[in-house]
């Protein structure tokens, strides 16, 4: 449900109506950014930001720090698994030695 696509704001096309051009892999589309522009900020300040687009509306700002954190966590899980695997491989050897 609810196809949402990450894209980058490349320009502000109609500041009065909160419209910006968002780029997804080289394809651009005009998108409403009303939901992600904080009060008392200038639409221009959002150029370069990554947003999540759903049916022509930017619905969330993409948080790079959180994304990095998620990826790091995934990496850790992987490393943890590798350690486990290494332990498993050692176990039969140790068993063999003790015989």
């Amino acid at each position: 449900m609810c196809l949402g696509i990450p894209g980058q704001i490349v320009s502000i096309s109609d500041a009065d109506n909160s419209m910006a051009m968002v780029d997804v892999s080289g394809v651009q589309r005009e998108v409403n950014i009303m939901c992600i522009v904080e009060p008392n900020t200038n639409a221009q300040d959002y150029i370069g930001e990554w947003v999540l687009v759903h049916v022509g509306f930017a619905m969330s700002h993409l948080d790079e720090e959180e994304a990095q954190r998620t990826l790091a966590l995934l990496q850790e899980l992987g490393e943890f698994q590798e350690e486990l695997d290494a332990m498993k491989e050692q176990e039969p050897q140790q068993a063999g030695e003790s015989q």
Partner: protein, 394 residues
């Protein structure tokens, strides 16, 4: 950072799958001690997740002791027949340009789909955004442009903001045929079913992006089920499964957020405000496959009645509260609740195919049955079903 490819890495996936295997083994061992051997039933509520699961073949990577139950989170699938009939009736009015998202075009009503209505001469146009529909209204002042507003909370802000823009710009030949539905009452209905056998939830990431984490707390607090708000890339799904399994293994039931790069704890407040301004909860709304669910839909507030197609044009069917029931033999409800697998439905691949969908789950490509039909070997599945029947009767 492109926020896409990073979350599709096969090496990381392999490691996650091993982790999932280890956790499942641990959980199943504990359960076996308690004399309980049924596979873990984990529901992904959202059709987007279902799509990712099938597109990346995630089910075949998982241990047999996990069964994914594909929930009702596809607003196109659960659109009841009566509402499609109403949409067709509205679209067939000569003064109307009826605008819709592409996926709603094929959903069958009791007589025909919008695609068939278009072939019969109705002026029906596919749009990418409700703003495109509003633009059409501006360009065609002599016509009435109706937008087929559907979707969960993710889509509600966009239609609400479009309506508010129409008001601001003084556009009067624009209206919404509102079929928005809400997630929480629908999950509540599934969990409240006495036959419910689910062990945990992957919650819809993009709905959460709008409504935040809080509305899902009841799943952990009242129903004592683990729930993880989940993103839509394959690694997101695998990581969330790991998080749900960790909770089960440790005996925790909490709301956790795997999709923090998009979902903030409090959700999107301008979006919530737009919803609050424009919509109010209906007493009940019908969902195809689940039947009538209390408080599951929204309607346009009285203050914006002039933008409500249901009030602008009297509807013959659901406007009068008449339900057009699902076809006999359709077991979508049981599939949605996880009581049977899609291929265990006796109609699957027989009367009910993507060409001739009987029920909700065969209607859209997001539907669990359609996904099984498209991405698996249907003959094999039918064979499996007949074997099961034989073993039951034997």
């Amino acid at each position: 950072m492109k926020y896409v490819d990073e979350f599709r890495d096969p090496d990381t996936a392999r490691k996650l799958v091993q982790q999932i295997q280890r956790l499942t083994d641990s959980i199943m061992a504990k359960r076996a001690e308690a004399g309980y051997t049924m596979p873990l039933q984990l529901m992904e509520f959202c059709g987007g997740h279902t799509h990712t699961i099938f597109r990346y073949g995630i089910e075949q990577l998982l241990p047999d002791t996990i069964e994914l139950v594909h929930g009702p989170g596809c607003p196109v699938c659960v659109l009841p027949r009566g509402r499609v009939d109403d949409a067709v009736a509205l679209a067939s009015r000569p003064e109307v340009i009826f605008t819709t998202f592409g996926d709603a075009m094929r959903v069958p009503g009791s007589q025909k789909s919008l695609l068939q209505a278009k072939a019969d001469g109705a002026d029906i146009r596919m749009v990418y955004s409700p703003l495109d529909a509003l633009k059409l209204a501006k360009e065609n002042p002599e016509r009435e442009v109706i937008f087929f507003a559907l979707g969960f909370e993710t889509t509600m802000p966009s239609t609400a903001l479009t309506l508010l823009q129409a008001e601001r710009q003084g556009i009067t030949n624009f209206s919404l045929f509102c079929n928005h539905i809400t997630t929480v009452p629908t999950i509540d209905a599934i969990l409240g079913d006495p036959d419910m056998i689910l062990d945990g939830f992957l919650a819809p990431g993009h709905v959460s992006m709008v409504i935040g984490e809080e509305p899902f707390q009841f799943v952990a607090k009242e129903f004592h089920k683990p729930l993880v708000i989940t993103g839509f890339e394959p690694l997101d799904i695998l990581q969330s499964l790991t998080m749900v399994l960790l909770q089960i293994n440790e005996g925790r039931t909490e709301v956790e957020n795997q999709y923090k790069r998009v979902v903030q704890k409090q959700g999107n407040s301008p979006g919530q405000q737009a919803i609050e301004t424009v919509f109010e909860i209906r007493d009940f709304f019908e969902l195809r496959g689940l039947g009538s669910v209390d408080h599951s839909g929204v309607r346009i507030r009285d203050a914006y009645a002039r933008y409500d197609a249901e009030r602008k044009f009297p509807l013959s069917l659901t406007g009068g509260g008449i339900t057009v029931t699902d076809p006999a033999g359709c077991q979508c409800g049981d599939v949605l609740k996880g009581l049977i697998r899609p291929w265990q439905c006796t109609q699957f691949g027989e009367q009910c195919t993507p060409q001739t969908p009987m029920g909700a789950l065969m209607v859209s490509s997001e539907g669990a049955c359609a996904a099984y039909y498209q991405y698996s070997d249907v003959q094999e599945l039918k064979l499996k079903r007949s074997h099961q029947k034989e073993s039951v009767s034997a």
